[in-house]
């Protein structure tokens, strides 16, 4: 048994961590938060050069061909530093979707460009408020043209291509749109986490090509989002861990009543509980990584497990990191709010916690009882 990353994978982690410490300090995150840029293009280019974007893309499609375990390691590191780059949209979702269901032509056309960072993809499924369901999709795909509105779309502002869920006949299909080909307008949206831009995309007779069969869209999207949930879970894990570290460091440094505040049980036990939820999330994430890398039959259950556990842990740790910092934690100047923002944004991306809680139990009960042991 080996529920751990290999030495090589940990070396990769060290390498990327060093790179990100240099290239993605909090200042870089703040540049996107406060400035006009919608992502850190230089950082994204650097990640492409380093092979991060192509880690799980086969070499024949311009990737590095390492695998998904390696991508999990990288995701955790990106999450730790809140990297303001569209890796989730472009790699976990769009590249993953093409690898799962794209035609040979689609894969050849786009995977190399996604791996090199030349092209950025976005995942445009959602319409309106509440839980996403096939019945809520009103965008239409007919005669190779797409018409409809998708919102919010993460990284829609900076994407070159979009994968869109649209109604085709009686079913829902996924279609790929080249956003430069016309018939597309974009509008940026304010969000709780401006370090990851959210956009409303409007399509009017935009040329599009289907991914997979007619009416297979929801099925494919579900599979892709399960895989992305595990990768995003590692981002959340990285964010939770970093929030805990920040809180611990502050609890060691900050004095009150003549003592380090970490010597007060109120703070000490709050941090212990953060450690508990982060540790549970890590163990669940490793289970998810195994399921993802092996495409195990348990993947849907593992994905929901990761999602619920990592979302809970990151929200818990980010929230209590602010609380540990007291008033300072609520200033713009301290970085606590960056993690709090991201924890709440990631809790909603791919669908909210209550949706995944429900999915987890639905999937467990569809399997056998042994799944619960």
């Amino acid at each position: 048994m080996n529920l751990d990353f290999s030495d090589e994978q940990n070396q990769l982690r060290d390498q990327v961590r060093r790179f990100l410490e240099e290239r993605c300090p909090p200042k870089a995150v703040r540049a996107v938060l406060e400035g006009d840029a919608n992502h850190d293009a230089a950082l994204y280019g650097g990640l492409a050069e380093l092979g991060v974007l192509g880690a799980a893309i086969p070499e024949e499609y311009g990737g590095v061909g390492l695998g998904h375990l390696e991508l999990c390691v990288l995701a955790e590191e990106l999450g730790r530093v809140l990297a303001p780059v569209p890796v989730a949209s472009s790699i976990y979702l769009v590249a993953e979707c093409l690898m799962q269901a794209g035609s040979e032509e689609q894969k050849s056309a786009w995977l190399p460009k996604l791996a090199s960072g030349e092209t950025i993809g976005c995942w445009a499924i959602n319409e309106g408020s509440g839980r996403m369901q096939p019945s809520k999709i009103s965008a239409r795909f007919e005669n190779g043209k797409l018409t409809g509105t998708k919102s919010p779309v993460a990284d829609g502002a900076i994407a070159d291509i979009a994968i869109v869920a649209a109604r085709e006949g009686d079913g829902v299909s996924l279609v790929l749109v080249d956003l430069s080909a016309g018939g597309v307008s974009r509008e940026n949206l304010n969000s709780v986490d401006p370090t990851r831009v959210q956009t409303r995309l409007r399509f009017e007779d935009a040329p599009a090509t289907r991914i997979g069969g007619t009416g297979d869209g929801w099925h494919i999207a579900t599979q892709v989002m399960d895989r992305a949930a595990i990768l995003m879970g590692f981002e959340q894990l990285g964010g939770a861990d970093r929030s805990l570290e920040m809180a611990r460091d502050y609890a060691l440094e900050r004095m009150a009543f003549g003592r380090q505040i970490g010597s007060f049980q109120a703070i000490k036990h709050m941090l212990a509980d953060m450690y508990v939820s982060a540790t549970l999330a890590r163990s669940n994430c490793y289970y998810g990584a195994w399921a993802l890398a092996t495409s195990a039959a348990e993947l849907p259950v593992a994905a929901a497990t990761v999602r619920v556990s990592a979302t809970t842990a990151f929200q818990h740790c980010a929230k209590n990191n602010i609380q540990t910092h007291g008033g300072m934690g609520f200033t713009w100047e301290y970085d606590c709010h960056l993690y709090y923002r991201r924890s709440n944004a990631l809790a909603l991306a791919l669908g909210s916690l209550s949706t995944w809680e429900s999915l987890l139990i639905e999937r467990m009960s569809a399997g056998n009882v042994e799944a619960a042991a």
Partner: protein, 419 residues
Amino acid sequence: MDFNDTPQEAEFRKEVRSWLDANAPKHLEAELKRASFGSSGLTSEDPIKAGKAWQKKKADAGWACLHWPKEYGGGARTPIERVIWGQEEGVYSVLSGPFTIGHGMCGPTVMAWANEAWKEKLLPPLASGEEIWCQLFSEPASGSDLAGLRTRAVKADDGSGDWIINGQKIWTSGARNSDWGLLITRTDPDVPKHKGLTMFFLRMDSPGVKVVPIKQANGASGFNEVYFTDVRIPDSQRLGAVGEGWKVSLTTLMNERLSIGSGMSTGFPELFRFCMEAEVDGEPAVADSNVRSKLAQFAIKQSGLKYTGMRAISALSKGETPGPENSIGKLVAGATMQELAMFALDLQGESGVVWDEDSPQNGRFQAMLMRSPATRIEGGSDEILRNIIGERVLGLPGDIRVDKDVAFKDIPTSGKQKK
């Protein structure tokens, strides 16, 4: 048990209502209803100007500072009359926001500690809203541990008796609009921390005072940093004896905790309204059993705080002092609001991340999410409030105090040296 006024209370309420009906700035009502989290909601008028106008009008008619004696511009009303006034004034009370700290905390401190001449000079313009006060207590290195403050006051070496102030305060609400500030300083670092403090008041336009707004995590700026560089204060503006500042500050803080409301809001009514409109899996959200379970737990907190407030009012109405129940208000409201906001966003699904005018209730829940962490910290953190309940209400022993008998200058200031 009943929710009715006594005949006297009903009479008073009638009087208040008819005065308000004739005098309240009704053209501002709609805007004021949008007030939240320290924002007055006003856009058509300058909030300070509108506030001063309303306060002056109230003062002229005897409705300002109902808890103050008449001689200093107050209304000398009973506690229950103040509650009734508050209920009737409703949204218009938002206009008096800039005076809350002055009326509730600085004024009573001046009243208790200043000499008669100062009281006659300072209190009436504070009551009538002509002058605004702020409270200069917290510092970057002393939040929960207020007595650990380090802003220094030393006697000027010119024999004038004046004090020279150097240091920094933080979390000062309203410092930009204030005429006066109530300032606590350290005058003796060689004695234990509570013993070397001295209280002053000063003009906020004194040379050497610099006010810098703090940008908060939610992007707003309700608070300020205030820097003091060789600021000179005459000794006549000292409150209490030298070294007695902690005792003076307790007057201020006690008055902070005396304020009685009808319970802090948790955000539940707003969430409930949202759940009446929103859907989960094609059904109204209020029909979903997970939503119901979570709403019910929020509901009992909302109503529990509401009726806790009413129990306090009942005590006042009978001329009794309310019990310690109200100490739970902010502790419950802050944590509930944060959880509740997260759940409201959860129900919005992926769209929950969007925070704009089109979001449900104009993005109220996103604003709650981003503001509620501060509620759990300001005016006593959750941890300090649990200590207060444990010690003052339940009578449990205090924390072990390692800094109690140590000269202030010998108390360690950073944990780094300890590692």
